[in-house]
């Protein structure tokens, strides 16, 4: 495999975009990324687009071909929409990376897009529940907040966990959201405000949950010989790994861990030839506050059972041992489901270029983690700014 670089990035602000179609969101992000890469459109050899619920919520599928047409990309290139629930964007990135790394093309466009805020909470819950094995799990009435409510109680029993420890993650990420101009829902919250918010899936409360979001992000990946076309620092992709895990909650032997994350992280560290302690900045899949605790431990960044305690001690802040979700994460930046995996990489690229609004000083190596369904699919990417 040959080296692959991120040479162009683009993103819409995350939030409510009621007057903008999902195609237009994807176009806005894509034009930014292509222009930043300095490449001509006819140099793009493939397009991968991550999306989850544009069918049920927007009545529009075949988004990859539609967006390629509106971007005026060269005719007949392979344009593929991929779906893996909340990990759709991460999967799109990995497939584009594979195409460039294996020489199928010299440059690729990756897009993640979702539009969901126009739907009612019940409609959205139903659409998102398509990511569950509805024959075996969904029949019980389990929802995704419910999945993390179950995980919280199991973790509390196994390791001990307080409301304030979990709230430390909410406070950190919401506070970082205030610093990120792309974020939907930054806030300066107190422990009391978080503890007083309504219950959603006990013990999970409102501020433990990411918001519904509209938004899109895009990246241009290229081989080394095309990096010079961009005025920006190219960021090398050291590893891009995708794994699968149990599609039903009842098939997880331990509710405090996702095997797909553990395996993806192990493979990614090996491929990148680094240790977890070398990672400076992390964007991980905090769809719920409890998820950040589990993910940070599954990724080997925090010792098992210490996720909440590390957050409460400030060890996962931008000036801590490892900076987690300096963007505000899904909790504050928002979670346009199919866009998230691509947007996480956009955030890490800006950190490694030294351009981020909430900078992690001296960051050289970044990691992104995108998890879908009940842990049925996971992607982990490791990126580095070359000296």
């Amino acid at each position: 495999m040959r080296p692959v670089y991120v040479s162009g990035t683009g993103s819409t602000p995350f939030g409510r975009h009621h007057d903008t179609s999902i195609e237009s969101l994807a176009l806005h992000a894509s034009v930014q990324a292509i222009e930043e890469s300095g490449l001509a459109r006819d140099q793009l050899g493939v397009l991968y687009l991550g999306n989850f619920v544009s069918g049920p919520l927007n009545g529009q599928e075949v988004l990859a071909g539609i967006v390629a047409d509106r971007l005026g990309l060269p005719g007949n290139i392979a344009c593929t929409k991929v779906e893996g629930a909340c990990a759709s964007g991460g999967i799109a990135f990995r497939h584009a990376w594979l195409a460039v790394a294996h020489g199928i093309c010299d440059a690729a466009l990756v897009i993640g897009a979702e539009k969901m805020t126009h739907a009612s909470t019940a409609e959205m819950t139903s659409a998102l529940n398509c990511a569950m094995d509805n024959e075996l799990d969904g029949i019980s009435g389990l929802t995704f907040p419910g999945l993390y409510g179950l995980a919280w109680r199991a973790y509390e029993q196994a390791y001990g966990l307080t409301r304030d420890e979990v709230s430390a993650i909410v406070m950190k990420n919401k506070c970082y959201g205030l610093l990120n101009p792309l974020a939907q829902m930054g806030a300066d919250l107190s422990l009391e405000e978080i503890a007083a918010s309504p219950l959603i899936a006990d013990p999970l409360q409102l501020f433990d949950c990411c918001p519904a979001t509209d938004g899109a992000a895009a990246l241009v990946l290229c081989a080394e010989h095309l990096c010079g076309r961009s005025a920006k620092t190219p960021i090398r992709v050291l590893a891009s790994v995708q794994t699968s895990g149990a599609p039903q909650i009842a098939k997880h032997p331990d509710l405090c861990t996702f095997e797909a994350t553990v395996k993806a992280a192990q493979q990614a560290y090996k491929l990148a030839d680094i240790r977890p302690s070398e990672v400076d900045v992390v964007e991980l899949h905090d769809c719920f506050s409890m998820a950040e605790i589990i993910d940070s431990e599954d990724l080997g960044l925090v010792p098992r059972g210490q996720g909440g305690k590390w957050a409460a001690a400030g060890k996962t802040s931008v000036d801590g041992d490892v900076a987690i979700n300096a963007s505000g994460g899904l909790l504050a930046k928002g979670h346009p489901v199919g866009a998230t995996g691509v947007a996480q990489i956009d955030e890490v690229v800006r950190q490694l270029r030294g351009e981020h609004a909430n900078p992690v000083a001296g960051a050289r190596i970044g990691l992104t983690h995108n998890l879908g369904g009940t842990g049925v699919v996971c992607t982990v990417n490791i990126l580095r700014v070359d000296p």
């Binding site: 509805n134 009435g141 959603i200």
Partner: protein, 123 residues
């Protein structure tokens, strides 16, 4: 809906003996397609539970309900409903003993409903 204390009917692969909660098209262990009913105790242990206060559209009329993960004494983990007495809503403990009491109509297959029988595992 049947009130009372129930055993659970699982499906056992006639080729390899693997247990399945519902009848699969193929056994995920050996690809066999023949299964037989296998009755096991409806008793188990509460692994975890939550209260769903924002149900999906199709369940909205039910209001809030409890979902649990249960380890059956027969050796299979299942996702099910949990019926809690008011006194247990804030005190139910992970590790409590539970018993299948009835089944609700699901979409094509029954939803198991368990109740807590003891706050500690009783076997």
């Amino acid at each position: 809906m049947t009130a009372g204390t129930l055993d659970l009917v699982l499906r056992r692969c006639q080729e390899c003996g693997a247990l399945h909660e519902h009848r699969p098209a193929f056994c995920s262990v050996c690809f066999a397609q023949t299964f037989e009913d296998h009755v096991v105790s409806g008793q188990g242990t509460l692994v975890s539970w939550t209260t769903i206060r924002k149900p999906p559209l199709r369940l909205r009329e039910q209001g809030a309900y409890h979902v649990a993960v249960i380890d059956l004494y027969a050796g299979l983990r299942v996702t099910a409903r949990l019926q809690l007495q008011e006194a247990h809503v804030t005190t139910a403990l992970v590790g409590a003993s539970v018993q299948l009491t009835h089944q609700m109509d699901g979409v094509g297959q029954p939803i198991h409903v368990f109740q807590i029988t003891a706050q500690q595992r009783d076997h």
